[in-house]
């Protein structure tokens, strides 16, 4: 039981390049989330999904797109990376129960030059 895994662990992009971050969970959770973590700002929700084939915007969705084609996977895409997207990205998942714990992946550190 690996929990929540993220790939890659670290990536350097040039401004304007695109990339996809992959999140996978093996806990059969309905909900999945993408956050970004910046110093002093805690974690901010980018997009989330309440089930396979559904996605919704969070607090800071601009510049990102997501897809949830399979229940266990949640992809975060950057179509044209900007230096402001330099951050640590965390994926999380949770069961369909009110108050349920969110389980986090180890994070992806992204540097946009």
């Amino acid at each position: 039981n690996a929990g929540v895994t993220q790939t890659p662990k670290f990536r350097v992009l040039k401004t304007g390049q695109s990339m996809t971050l992959l999140c996978a969970q093996d806990m059969n959770h309905e909900y999945m989330y993408w956050y970004r973590q910046d110093p002093g700002m805690g974690l901010r929700l980018i997009h989330y999904s309440v089930g396979e084939g559904t996605t919704a915007k969070g607090e800071v969705p601009d510049g990102y797109n997501v897809s949830r084609l399979k229940k266990q996977n949640f992809l975060l895409g950057l179509e044209s990376a900007a230096p402001s997207q330099t951050s640590v990205y965390f994926c999380a998942s949770s069961a369909l129960v009110l108050g349920e714990t969110q389980y986090f992946g180890p994070g992806t550190r992204l540097l946009v030059l």
Binding site: Y31, G42, V50, T101, F104, P106
Partner: protein, 114 residues
Amino acid sequence: AQSVTQLDSQVPVFEEAPVELRCNYSSSVSVYLFWYVQYPNQGLQLLLKYLSGSTLVESINGFEAEFNKSQTSFHLRKPSVHISDTAEYFCAVRRKAAGNKLTFGGGTRVLVKP
């Protein structure tokens, strides 16, 4: 919308001393409350949570937090810290009635000194 304020960005503390991390929230509706811990170079892990019932909740490693509805606070305490408690701690809230989205505070970095 709700918001979470963690008043201290950094808290240095000596080993075996007590520590308190402050968390205040604002919300127009009832919320669930959480404390997460992030050890260096790792993801976040749940430390404890308040859903209902007793306002004092405890973790397995000696932390406790008390929900104070009148002061809209959920402060985290430990009577005696260890070096291994060095980490960043995040307070988070979630509205009871809608979805499962968390709103996080800015985090408090705890550095335990020998």
